[in-house]
């Protein structure tokens, strides 16, 4: 499919699943009454045997997926982020990961992308929950270009994957011919004074912050780290060694996700000062993204301030 600024991330997922379901005998998708939101409702009509809706029962969906996997199928399950993580934490842990079942878990509307659904639906903890479970890979797509590159690798990855998927169309930051390695972080902009490691919708924010910093004579390197587990410590530490200071930027609680993964990598390999942009000890709330960015300090100015602060600590 042709990818442009208007392409929705969910449509990339649906097109990929359609292609796989058509060309293999094992790919399946399961929904729990949010198929209209994920876009997968179309697949239920096209492939009624391979695209199932289990109703509002996410735990059962996770278990059914594990059972299907034990039978040789490769199910994707989808729900809003909170219900694809904290609601099914035990099923994901035991029936899927501990039992070594090949299930891909799609949690949509990460963090502030949940917007008007508010605090009950706004996952700032999903990555932290999954990071503590062995084997599972955690991936938060940056834009549709990268996501289209990532999906075949995710599908062919022999372990469970948690996909923290924006449903809509975050800004495209990658060139059309971008080649992605699911296990690698990559520099979107090179710099020498500070490294900004970002994921999800904070990647474009970090790039905007780097431009502002440039105007102030600060050269920032922006590392896009869509895969949060396993973290690409090699790329991040190499950049930290060069710049001597790191800022993390994520649309998630700062405890347990990108900041934690980066901090752990740095402390073990390249200890440098670290500052973080992310949600700090707060629950979600209703609002549109611009309001929520302000409410949770996820704006360009927050990244700029963190960069200046961390440089001052060198």
């Amino acid at each position: 499919m042709e990818l442009n600024e208007k392409t929705l991330m969910r449509d990339v997922l649906v097109e990929f699943l359609r292609e796989r379901i058509t060309s293999d005998d094992v790919t399946m998708v399961l929904d729990a009454d949010l198929a209209k939101c994920a876009g997968t409702i179309a697949l239920e009509k096209e492939f009624p045997e391979r695209a199932l809706n289990v109703g509002i029962a996410e735990a059962n969906m996770a278990g059914i997926a594990a059972g299907l996997s034990s039978y040789g199928f490769k199910p994707f399950i989808t729900s809003f982020g909170p219900f694809a993580s904290r609601r099914i934490a035990d099923q994901a842990m035991i029936s899927i990961c501990y039992a070594k079942q090949n299930v891909k878990i799609v949690g949509t509307d990460p963090g502030i992308a949940a917007e008007l659904n508010g605090g009950t639906h706004m996952p700032f903890e999903d990555v932290a929950i999954y990071r503590s479970i062995p084997d599972i890979l955690i991936y938060e797509p940056t834009d549709v270009v990268e996501f289209a590159e990532a999906l075949p690798q995710i599908a062919d990855y022999p372990y469970p994957v948690y996909i923290r998927m924006h449903r809509k169309n975050p800004p495209i930051v990658h060139p059309a011919d971008f080649k992605f390695d699911l296990k690698k972080a990559h520099a979107l902009k090179e710099g020498k004074d500070v490294t900004i490691v970002a994921s999800g919708l904070m990647v474009s924010t970090a790039l905007d912050a780097a431009k502002e910093l440039e105007a102030d004579g600060i050269s920032a390197e922006v590392i896009c780290s869509p895969t949060i587990k396993p973290i690409d410590a090699e790329t991040i530490c190499a950049s930290a060694k060069k710049t001597g200071a790191v800022v993390t930027a994520e649309n998630h609680n700062v405890i347990g996700a990108l900041r934690s993964a980066v901090a752990e990598a740095l402390v073990e390999n390249t200890p440098v000062p670290l500052e973080s942009v992310g949600v700090k000890e707060k629950f979600g709330e209703v609002g549109k993204v611009p309001y929520l960015r302000k409410a949770f300090n996820l704006e360009v100015c927050d990244v700029v301030a963190a960069a200046k602060k961390v440089i001052s600590r060198k």
Binding site: A59, G63, G67, Q91
Partner: protein, 272 residues
């Protein structure tokens, strides 16, 4: 196997359970002994499997959702030659293939990992859907506990199975009326259990769960019936077949077994 042979097979399973748990000195013996008869009927007569090829395509599957009854499953698998009987003495020892709760990645013949209650039933529903998609003609058997039936996920799984008429799914409830902290009735009663499952669009049998003849009859009827998932409520005695375990009642959920008790239990099972 005829009924005498099935009864003898159930005695062998009980002896293996006592050996397995007795060798360690502690374990979930009550809820293992209560399901020995249904395991004898399934593995002695109804299920299609190959101990030489535990992952045989199209095999019937048993998912013991009450995963703490692992030693009962190991008892029947060892008896059928999935692994040497001598391994029963490794229960819960470091590095064993026989952990307290069923683990499909450790034990040949175990079809699904279970232990966090309620989850195995959903996995059995997934396997039943998988079998229908593959048209392999398999039957998916699942054993759930009565205490386990207090988990909401049991009813999520049951609702979906009934709604989607998964008639290749045969579920057993080990209705021994006891759970870890007390009786089912005093803690969170399941009654009327048969009515509940009928209301969930299951075909229901409500039988003496320690009578191989009754179990065989119910399973035969269940296998023949189309259009609905099946629930066979096994009214069992927790600890069945070993007097001091039966007498422990609630205490039999997990109890210590010393060498003397082990020998006494084996004598009783063998009718000596």
């Amino acid at each position: 196997m005829n009924y005498d042979q099935l009864r003898a097979f159930a005695r062998d399973i009980r002896a293996n359970i006592v050996d397995c748990i007795g060798s360690l000195g502690v374990g979930h013996i009550g809820g293992c002994l209560s399901i020995a008869d249904v395991l004898a009927v399934l593995y002695g007569k109804h299920m299609r499997y190959d101990p030489e090829n535990p992952k045989m395509e199209g095999r019937d599957r048993l998912i013991c959702s009450k995963g703490h009854a692992g030693p009962a499953v190991y008892a029947v698998l060892a008896e059928k030659g999935f692994f040497p009987k001598s391994e029963l003495a490794t229960l819960n020892r470091g590095g064993t293939h026989l952990p307290s709760h069923c683990d499909m990645n450790k034990t040949p013949g175990v079809d699904m990992t279970a232990g966090s209650l309620g989850q195995g039933f959903s996995c059995a529903v997934g396997a039943a859907i998988g079998s229908k998609l593959k048209k392999d003609g398999a039957t998916i058997y699942c054993i759930i506990g009565d205490g386990e039936s207090q988990e909401g996920q049991i009813w999520e799984a049951g609702m979906y199975a009934g709604s989607h008429k998964l008639d290749n799914l045969i579920v057993f409830t080990d209705y021994n009326k006891l759970q870890l902290d007390g009786t089912i009735e005093e803690i969170n009663d399941l009654a009327p259990l048969a009515d509940k499952w009928r209301a969930f669009n299951f075909a229901v049998w409500d039988i003496d769960g320690n009578d191989v003849e009754a179990i065989d009859k119910a399973v035969s009827e269940a296998r023949a019936l189309e259009g609905k998932p099946k629930m066979i409520i096994l009214n069992t005695v927790k600890g069945k077949g070993v007097s001091f375990v039966e007498a422990a009642k609630v205490g039999s959920h997990s109890m210590n077994i010393n060498a003397e008790q082990r020998a006494e239990a084996l004598k009783e099972i063998r009718g000596e």
